[in-house]
Structures are given as C-alpha cells and as structure tokens.
Amino acid sequence: MDDINLLRNLERVAAPPDFERRVMAQLAQRKTELPSARRAQVFRYSLAGAAAALFAGFLALNVFVLRSGPDRMTTAGGRMAEPASSRDFVSITEPVSYRNEVRNVSAESGTVYILEQVSNASNQYIRY
C-alpha cells in the first residue's frame, strides 16, 4: 500500500451550483447588518470605558483623598495615632465659675451634709 498516495483515493467534492449566489446574498445581508453591529460595539466599548474610568476615579479618591486624613498622621513622638476605640473620647475644656458652686455653709450651722455614693461605679475615682 502506497501511503503517500492514500488520500488520492478519497473523493473530491465541489461547491453546490448556487454557491456564488448564496455568498453574494450573505454579503449583502452582512453589509446591512454591519452599521448596527458597529454601533453596538461602540456602545459596548464606551460603556466599558466609562465603568473603568469610574473605578479608577474611585480608586484615586480612596488612595489620595480619604487615606491622607488625620488617621494617617503621626504623633509628635513618632508613633501612629491610637486605635479608633480610644479616639472616641473627646476632651472638652469647660469653664466653670466656682464662685456660684460653693456656698458659705457657716451661715447654716444646723445643716448636716450626708455624702453617699449615687453611682454603681467604683468610688475610687470619685472625688468629693
């Protein structure tokens, strides 16, 4: 068996008689479809581009604006700021006029003052 000429034994086929007409009909159809397909493609690409730009904008905002706030600042000692739980306490300086708070008790000699604890918290921090 001559293996080189093996395929010569296979039948050759030809195109059907109306092949050219079918190709030209499909060509005409594709030509009409092409503008709408292009429009759809342009729309898809612009949608993808807008989404990518939005995402990039979000990333830039996150990295350059939000992260550069007071959280990232260091203290004078060079340490990073304390965790959020301890940062919840805000120190407030409130001016108090002790002149109105303290009364002259010498005028009311019969008055007995009873000091009692009114809070469940340990009294070691309560100063009278």
């Binding site: 293996d3 080189i4 093996l6 395929l7 296979l10 030809a14 195109a15 059907p16 030209m24 499909q26």
Partner: protein, 197 residues
C-alpha cells in the same frame, strides 16, 4: 506567475470595494475551499457553510492581507482556522457521537449516486480520527498539492515542522486505515454470522 499577478489585482479591487472582483475570487476558489473544508470536517453541508464564511471574511478583511505571501495561502489560512474552531466547538459540545457520524455519512455527502468504495470509506474514517495538527498539512500536501513551503505559510509553522507533521501524519493515517479496515472486516463478518446477509 500571471495567475498570482491577476489575484493580486483582484485583491486590490476587493480592497477598493469591487464586488465583481470578489465574485471572481469566489469562482476561482470555491471548489478548492469546499473540498478542503469537507476533508477537515467530514460534513458536506457544514463545509459549504464554512466556505461561505471564509469568503465573507476574505471580503471584509481584505485590507489586512499583505502581498508578502500568495493570496491562496491567506484564503486557506482563514479556512483552516475556521475548521479548527468548528472542530473544537464540536468536541466541546460532544457532538461527535456515533449517531452523528452515521448521520453525516448518510445525509451530508454531496451526491447520493457517489459510490463509496470500502477503501474510501475506511480512509474517510481514518482521516476523521487523525488530529487536525496532522490532518491539515497532510490534506494540503496530498490532496491539494501544496508544497511544504506553502503549507508552512498557511499554518504559520517552520518548514521543518511541516515536514515532520506530514511524515508523521501519513504514517498515523496508514495505521488508522489498517485499524479501520480490520474493524470493518470484523463488523461485516459479525453481520454475516448474524444472518443479515
């Protein structure tokens, strides 16, 4: 050479949008491409559909053709890429069942009066079993008569690779043919034994 010059001129006219030049190209190549795709897919109707797609791509992608290689190589490259995609799709969808093979053999041959000799049938079976990597260069060489250099341009591989694939493909085809012949003989013997003949 004159043929090649004519083809280059036709391609130039297609690039300018001349449909009559395109018709001429279709007329020149339709039988070759349909036959090539039939040998690749084993299905005549599918081969015709893929050939139409090949020519449409030729028309719409004509501006991408560079005249450094013959026009025929470019057309065959488009056709073989379509054949590869088709077979991959078929493989993925698991369409190549025994029923489909029998159906395509019965229905999709170009003419019913074609007498399919035993050797041709076994050969078709053997060719269908051959991987595309070998089938494309073997068919281009042994059926379409292309040189190894031209095949190298079509499948975009070095000439040495093409030479090796043709040689290996031929020997694989021979082995597959022997196997198919043996299987068919056993099948025929069993049918005779079962009293079908």
């Amino acid at each position: 050479m004159t043929m090649r010059m004519d083809e280059q001129e036709l391609v130039g006219r297609i690039q300018a949008g001349d449909e009559s030049a395109f018709t001429e190209i279709v007329r020149l190549y339709k039988d070759k491409i349909v036959n090539f795709l039939f040998q690749m897919t084993g299905d005549y109707q599918r081969a015709v559909d893929l050939s139409q797609e090949t020519f449409l791509r030729v028309y719409f992608k004509a501006d991408k053709y560079k005249p450094i290689a013959p026009f025929s190589s470019w057309v065959y490259a488009i056709a073989s890429n379509l054949a590869k995609t088709e077979l991959k799709k078929r493989y993925r969808m698991n369409q190549v069942s025994l029923d489909d093979v029998q159906y395509s053999a019965e229905v999709s041959t170009p003419s019913d009066e074609t007498t399919d000799s035993g050797l041709a049938r076994n050969l078709r079976e053997a060719l269908d079993r051959l991987s595309l990597r070998y089938r494309i260069p073997v068919v281009l060489k042994d059926m379409e008569g292309y040189s190894q250099e031209e095949i190298a341009r079509i499948i975009r591989r070095p000439v040495g690779t093409v030479k090796a694939r043709i040689s290996r493909g031929r020997s694989m085809l021979k082995r597959q043919l022997e196997k198919a012949t043996k299987e068919n003989l056993t099948f025929q013997k069993r049918e005779i034994f079962d009293g079908r003949y």
